[in-house]
Amino acid sequence: MIETVVSVDLMVEEELKVKKNRLAPDFPNGNEKRICIVSGLYGDELQGQYICYEVIRRIKSNYDKLKGIVDVYPSVNVMGLDSRTREIPGSGMDMNTLFPGSKSGALGEYTASCIFGDICGADVCIDLHASNVYIHEVPQVRMNDDCVDKVMPFAKHMNVDMVWIHPSTSVQNGSLAYSLNNAGVASMVIESGVAFRIQKQYCEQIVDGLFSLMKYMGIWDGDAVDAKEGIVTDDSRISYINAESSGIFIPDVSVYDTVTKGTQIGTIVNVLTGSVEEVVCANNDGMICSLRDYPVIEEGSLLARIVGDINHE
């Protein structure tokens, strides 16, 4: 059932509507578990669009297997998605800093408040992201370090390559995940791929994880994969490689590549002089879990992350 969660008049003719699709058993017993799947907090992150579509499609094709409530919010920053804008168009506010929001606030805070209120009471919330335009990420769960005990049992079913306990902005104070965890809803962020793209392989992997999680929660009674055991790490096992020169980054590795300390990651070149400004090398042993996708870089730009100790296989 399609429901409107937020409705706000825009300035000329249009109405901003944030919608959700509630999928629930035909004959509920009143004790169903509830999972919320949220996507599109950033208007340039599109992975969640395919994931939401595929989740709904698979449920509809085996509706009798649905034993709980699945609320899908595919596009919560509607104007951002339509205008290819990461933040909320107009105000420029980062929507994922506005939660739990405020009914008396401006457009973004008001919208955040309505979405937050609608999700409250659920058992689990999955906030689907897709990195930004600069960095390509392997599919991963992110969670803040203050909710590990509560969230990890669910995260292990998400079929991702990495679970990163990391207080990044996507899970810190002001984010949807942080606010929901404070409100008793076990919440995590999924990052994968790169902005403005749909990487179907990653999406399918995450959809498989969602069904694995829903099976674990008793929401889904159909087929589900055995979730892969991803690397579980905190910041101590993540190495950052930042540029010390400006120019164009030409990578020599790909995500998932295993490197050792000293392996050449890529070069930074000067296109005016035809010279190599910097040869970028791995600063640790491990797997490339993040890699620069947008080639124009400046001093300090993040080029890669390496997750170490990957002997889990």
Binding site: M11, G92, A106, L107, N242, S246, G247, E298, S301
Partner: protein, 311 residues
């Protein structure tokens, strides 16, 4: 006036990016003033330019106190101003959301770290900040309620109002918060505008800083005593939202005293010109903030009022 390099880096296409500071007087690190951090903060940079001129004159006249140094950093983000962007030109990050910064991190994080390293030992810090809502506000001094703020010191600027506010989620990564955490008495000065130049409020901001520096014994300057500031808590301001979306016709501007029920503005239907909503003052008081966009969304905060305050 001595010019120094605060931070320097190379860029892919634009050449060297160098941030400069200008110091006046020599000796103890007495006061540091930071200007525009975003590319749309024209008023904030303008205030710094006026202040630089004034401090140069005072220095030439020997009116910077002995053993006192004032550092002025007019802008941290001039490339965005040149490119007409608000945030960092290369990746849309925000310098004032990057503190305390990391010298090995991204460009904005490096700028934040370099800045904080250079300015952390000053006794007093002033930042010309822009109001988080787009529009015009009464000039004021804002302090975060970190437990380390001193309202009595803020009063010495002689601005009409001192506003204190609880920390919002993003405040912990701002300059003001981190400056206070490192022991500097940090103040944010809000002028009336951001993207347009308002001479009157710019001069008020300049005077307020000179007044403060005089009262702290950092400069010798005969100036008007300013206001005995009224202290407000941000949470006490009454927010008035647009009930409808459409053209915003302002009838009452900032700093006007109004009666409860007085019409502040009208929202006009952009298709047929009819009045969709009349925005009424919910209380007697003074208009503290008024938005200045030609059109508004439904639920947008269009006014903030000081409840039951009279001129």
């Amino acid at each position: 006036m001595n010019k120094e390099v605060i931070f320097s880096m190379n860029t892919a296409f634009r050449g060297e990016y160098t941030l400069h500071g200008y110091s006046f007087g020599e000796g103890d690190k007495a006061a540091c003033i930071v200007g525009a951090m975003r590319g749309n903060e024209y008023q904030q940079l303008y205030i710094c330019s006026l202040l630089a001129k004034k401090l140069s004159e005072l220095e030439a006249q020997g009116n910077i106190s002995a053993q006192k140094e004032i550092l002025l950093i007019p802008t941290l983000n001039y490339s965005s101003m040149n490119a007409k962007k608000t945030k960092w030109i290369a990746d849309d990050s925000d310098i004032n959301r990057s503190f305390p910064g990391n010298p090995h991190g991204t460009a904005t994080s490096r700028i934040a770290a370099a800045l904080l390293q250079r300015i952390k030992d000053y006794s007093y810090g002033v930042q010309f900040a822009s109001f988080y809502l787009q529009g015009e506000s009464i000039p004021h001094v804002r302090m975060m309620e970190t437990g380390k703020e001193s309202v009595s010191l803020a009063n010495l600027f002689g601005m009409p109002y001192v506003l204190t506010g609880m920390n919002r989620a993003f405040d912990t990564v701002t300059l003001n918060y981190n400056w206070q955490e490192l022991g500097t008495q940090a103040f944010s000065i809000y002028s009336a505008t951001t993207e347009t130049i308002d001479d009157e409020s710019a001069m008020m901001a300049v005077s307020s800083v000179l007044r403060f520096l005089t009262r702290m014994g950092i400069i010798k300057y005969d100036c008007h005593g300013g206001y005995i500031s009224t202290t407000l808590r941000e949470q006490e301001l009454v927010s008035i939202r647009a009930e409808e979306a459409g053209f915003f016709r302002k009838l009452v501007g900032v700093d006007r005293e109004v009666k409860r029920g007085e019409v502040l503005a009208e929202i006009i239907n952009p298709m047929d010109g009819t009045v969709k909503a009349s925005i009424l003052a919910p209380t007697d008081g003074i208009v503290f903030f008024c938005q200045d966009a030609p059109m508004v969304f439904q639920n947008t905060v269009i006014y903030k009022m000081i409840r039951r305050m009279h001129h």
